[in-house]
């Protein structure tokens, strides 16, 4: 419940408080958001499977975000930032889809 509250609060704050993102972090924000989404879907699936562990969730959330940002950072340094971020988004998208499929099977039994 607190988790849902936090999400809603975050959206509201992000929309209306208009916080300023440091310029150096700007390119990493979209990738980090996608990575975090992946972690959230994974957590949701684990919750429905009955094996949710908040420690695992926290670690996977943070590591996902950090690794995704790191990959983009590395890609930028190597001059293939655009391609690497596309790759990261594709991989995370696939994972999100498979997690969503598992969730769907739990919810709809189909």
């Amino acid at each position: 419940m607190i988790a849902v509250l936090g999400l809603v609060l975050g959206v509201v704050v992000g929309f209306f408080a208009r916080p300023v993102i440091p310029h150096e972090l700007e390119p990493y924000l979209p990738i980090a958001v996608v990575a975090a989404l992946d972690a959230v879907f994974g957590g949701l699936r684990a919750l429905l499977d009955g094996i949710f562990d908040d420690k695992v969730f926290v670690v996977s959330f943070l590591s996902n975000v950090v690794v995704a940002a790191l990959i983009v950072f590395l890609g930028d340094k190597l001059g293939v930032g655009a391609q690497l971020s596309t790759g990261v988004v594709v991989v995370l998208g696939i994972r999100i889809f498979s997690n969503a499929a598992a969730i769907r099977r739990h919810v709809f039994r189909a």
Partner: protein, 234 residues
């Protein structure tokens, strides 16, 4: 689930999701704001910058070209204006000489009364020559403008014609020139006025600062004479 049981784990998850929501919202808002350069990659920005610089250079070059052409047009316009003014001025001068425009200025009015009918064309011609020698610039006799080709005749005794037009006494010369030159030239001993007086004709000279020569002559183009190319700028 209500009231929520507050544990450390729940709080941490809530904070993380708060961060996720905020990031999501910021990103969505950033992309919705119509600034395509926000969040663009460095290589894209460099490309955009390059394009802008090239465009700037092209526009600068075009600006320079247009400025040069503008300067050229301005100077040629000035030259054309100057040439037109010179032409106008020349047309005025030539028009006064050719008798096609009115002329005004200081001068004298010479009136010759001839009650006896003794004045002959050659006397009028002598008067005219005397005036020309004294620097007269524009002359009319009665209503006839005097020009370079003016001629005098007396087809019938006592009927004087100038350029084919009949003129009768009193003969009024309107002359533009320096009055201080014209008046003495007519009054010299043995000069025009003395000669006329011998024939019982009275001549009166009135100097004026404003004499109007308003008789006109139609401009005629010469049939044979053409300006010779390269023979001066006249």
């Amino acid at each position: 689930m209500w009231p929520p049981r507050v544990s450390r784990a729940q709080l941490v998850v809530g904070v993380l999701l708060f961060a996720l929501g905020a990031g999501l919202a910021i990103q969505v808002r950033t992309n919705t704001e119509s600034d395509p350069l926000r969040g663009a990659r460095e290589s894209d920005l460099v490309r955009v910058l390059d394009e802008l610089e090239q465009r700037t250079q092209r526009l600068e070059a075009e600006k320079h070209r247009l400025e040069v052409s503008r300067d050229q047009l301005e100077s040629s316009n000035n030259r054309a204006e100057e040439a037109r003014q010179q032409t106008d001025q020349r047309a005025q001068v030539l028009g006064i000489l050719a008798g096609t425009v009115k002329a005004t200025g200081p001068g004298i009015t010479l009136t010759i009364n001839d009650p006896q009918g003794n004045v002959r064309p050659d006397m009028l011609l002598d008067t005219l020559q005397e005036l020309r020698a004294a620097g007269a610039e524009a002359i009319q006799i009665n209503q006839v403008r005097v020009v370079a080709s003016t001629w005098f005749d007396e087809p019938v005794q006592g009927q004087i014609t100038i350029d084919g037009q009949r003129v009768t006494a009193p003969y009024v010369f309107k002359v533009i020139g320096n009055p201080q030159d014209l008046q003495p030239a007519l009054n010299i001993p043995g000069g025009v006025i003395r000669t006329l007086e011998k024939k019982q004709a009275q001549a009166v000279v009135v100097p004026s600062q404003q004499v109007l020569v308003d008789a006109l002559r139609a401009p005629t183009a010469p049939d044979y004479a053409r300006s010779a190319p390269g023979a001066g700028n006249g």
